[in-house]
């Protein structure tokens, strides 16, 4: 990928909340069209990095760029972001919420309606189009939120633990949708603890530990570096110590 211009570029990113340093010095790049895995144990700074990348947090230091500039809503890139903290307007109807976000993402109302109805049919929620969000189950709400995330066919898709709370059937559905977006040429950055998803989808990954990159590169490079047979083994190798430390304490 040398010479290729990255779509996401993070250079010497530092982040502290008060006296607590969350990210000490983090650099990585994501290239157009790849599926990039963002891995790490809980509290390692993955969500903080994504939020800073999207301008939701102001970094303490360093540069976080999308298409060569800090992300702004009007920055000329179509983005789909599924945050870790999830929720929609609970008192509103499914279709109304989807239309609202579709229009905010620049779609016309008829186009947003057409997309929404097709998507709801695909995820078997077409009978819920006029149901209030808070009347749906947690899994159904997640499906709607995923639909909202991809409804402008984004060129950059950032998914923060997208399968959290999904049953196996819905997880498969979600992974199929991610694969479709990948085939359509979208760049996908996704945070997950599911190593089988990483093996199946990701071309490159970064593993965060204590606010810094512990490993970064292609799956093959990382497997070679850690002499691991699978990403699952490597994950345990890197973060297993934390579990041991917690047990010792």
């Amino acid at each position: 990928m040398t010479g290729e211009k990255p779509i996401v570029s993070v250079e010497h990113f530092k982040m502290a909340f008060g006296d607590k340093e969350v990210i000490s010095d983090l650099s990585f790049e994501v290239f157009r069209g790849e599926v990039f895995g963002f891995l790490g144990s809980n509290g390692s700074g993955k969500t903080t990095t994504l939020r800073a990348l999207l301008g939701l947090y102001e970094p303490t230091g360093g540069k976080l760029l999308i298409n060569g500039k800090p992300y702004t809503v009007d920055g000329g890139i179509s983005l789909g972001y599924l945050p870790e903290e999830r929720g929609l307007y609970k008192k509103e109807k499914v279709l109304d919420v989807m239309l609202y976000f579709g229009e905010l993402k620049g779609m016309t109302r008829p186009a947003a309606r057409e997309f929404s109805l097709k998507y709801l049919e695909r995820v078997k929620l077409s009978d819920k189009a006029h149901t209030r969000i808070d009347k749906l189950s947690g899994g159904q709400q997640q499906k709607v939120q995923l639909g909202v995330t991809i409804m402008n066919e984004p060129e950059l898709l950032i998914l923060d633990e997208p399968t959290k709370g999904f049953d196996p059937v819905n997880r498969r559905l979600l992974m199929n949708i991610v694969e479709e977006r990948k085939k359509a040429g979208a760049t996908i950055v996704f945070v997950t603890h599911q190593m089988e998803e990483v093996e199946r989808l990701c071309s490159r990954v970064i593993l965060l530990k204590d606010g810094a990159a512990r490993a970064y590169g292609t799956l093959a490079d990382i497997k070679k570096q850690f002499s691991g047979a699978s990403m699952d083994d490597i994950f345990v190798k890197i973060y297993g110590g934390e579990e041991q430390e917690a047990e010792d304490e």
Partner: protein, 407 residues
């Protein structure tokens, strides 16, 4: 173009979903419905009283009377077919034996002693007819002894017209206050009815965790402006929903309800006062909308924000307790301070402008302070929303806000 599109989208979404809420209509229609209820009771009560008086006129009641006072005219007693009895005991005995329906005893000194009325029980609501007869006898007897003019004085039916002058010009304080004072009433209603809605407008996205998706989709400035404009439009809709039935009731039913007659044609319309009132109203509304939006953005939950809302309301409406001071001592430092301090100034400025003791210079200074404060608070509310929105569990501190500003 994109921002304008998103502004329109935010406004349409916010307005439509609010108009779909039953609570909006309950709040908007609650006041007129309450008024209809109250006026309905008054109307029914007036009709019932008139019907009772009519019934009393036609009812044949046998009566005995003892008039020690000498006030009651014999012809009145005759007209009412009342028999005179010599003593109080005799009269009471006639009632007890059923010989008459009622007995009335007029004592020697009507000013210090009580008129005594005895009657056959006619039910809880009908028994008052006996005392009504006693009062009618007295009324008619006295009226028969005085002239028409004296009668009007005794009945309190003399009309008094007061004309006052200010700077050599005729000046009616109350009428002068009506047009510019409407802004004060409107402001009070909007904050009272819409305050909580303004407060919750920015907490909702934080509480339901929609905020991250929103802030990566739409500019925070566009979102906040869209919400504020939606609130203003909703406030206007609600004002119309309240005013239209109230005015309809007033104009259609005022004769039946005996409401005070306001001659709209004679209400003074001073363009300067109305213009100043409108400017004070607009900037006050924007300032407090901004404050409530900022509070909502800074607090993690609606519950925490509502306790701060209480302080805002105290500052805003606290000056209402000093109404007489604002009117009587407009030049006192206390009144001037409250009139210029932006958090307390809306009520004093609007009140003094309506009453006519707000000098033009002070009014313009007050408006300028309100306008600058409104702009600063609006900008601050966008900043607080931008950075406070991501704090799900704690309120944003001023230190954190300053630190972000320094970057």
């Amino acid at each position: 173009m994109n921002n304008m599109h998103n502004l329109g989208t935010v406004m349409r979404f916010e307005i439509t979903r609010m108009l779909k809420k039953p609570s909006f209509w309950l709040m908007a229609l609650g006041f007129p419905v309450l008024m209809v209820g109250i006026f309905g009771i008054v109307f029914w009560s007036n009709n019932a009283t008139m019907e009772a008086a009519e019934k009393l006129k036609n009812e044949k009641i046998t009566m005995a009377v003892t008039d020690v006072s000498g006030v009651i005219k014999p012809e009145i007693l005759q007209a009412m077919d009342a028999k005179e009895v010599a003593t109080r005991d005799e009269g009471i005995e006639k009632v007890q034996s059923g010989a008459v329906d009622a007995y009335i005893y007029f004592p020697a000194d009507l000013a210090t002693e009580r008129v005594e009325v005895y009657g056959q029980d006619a039910g809880l609501f009908e028994n008052s007819k006996y005392s009504a007869i006693a009062t009618t006898m007295l009324d008619q007897s006295v009226n028969a002894q005085v002239s028409e003019q004296q009668r009007a004085v005794l009945r309190g039916q003399v009309n008094v017209a007061t004309t006052t002058f200010r700077d050599g010009q005729e000046y009616d304080g109350i009428r002068e206050m009506i047009a510019p004072g409407l802004f004060l009433v409107l402001f009070y209603f909007l904050i009272a009815f819409f305050g909580n809605q303004m407060l919750n407008s920015t907490i909702e996205e934080k509480e339901n965790r929609t905020i991250e998706m929103l802030l990566t989709t739409v500019q925070s400035r566009v979102l906040i402006i869209g919400k504020i404009l939606s609130l203003i439009i909703l406030a206007l809709i609600q004002t119309l929903v309240i005013l239209i039935p109230v005015l309809t009731i007033y104009f259609v039913l005022s004769p039946q309800l005996q409401l005070p007659n306001i001659d709209l044609a004679n209400i003074p319309l001073d363009p300067l006062k109305i213009g100043l009132g409108a400017a004070i109203f607009i900037f006050s509304f924007l300032l407090f909308t901004g404050i409530l939006v900022a509070l909502g953005a800074a607090m993690p939950t609606a519950k925490e924000a509502s306790s701060w809302f209480g302080y805002v309301v105290i500052l805003l409406f606290g000056p209402l307790y000093g109404v007489t001071t604002f009117i009587s001592y407009p030049d006192s430092p206390f009144v001037r301070f409250l009139s210029l301090f932006p958090l307390t100034s809306p009520i004093p400025l609007m009140l003094r402008n309506a009453y006519g003791n707000l000098p033009l210079g002070e009014a313009l200074l007050g408006i300028a302070i309100l306008a600058v404060s409104a702009v600063v608070v609006m900008l601050l509310s966008v900043r607080i929303f931008r950075y406070g929105a991501m704090q799900y569990d704690s309120k944003i501190s001023l230190a954190a806000l300053r630190a972000k500003r320094a970057k």
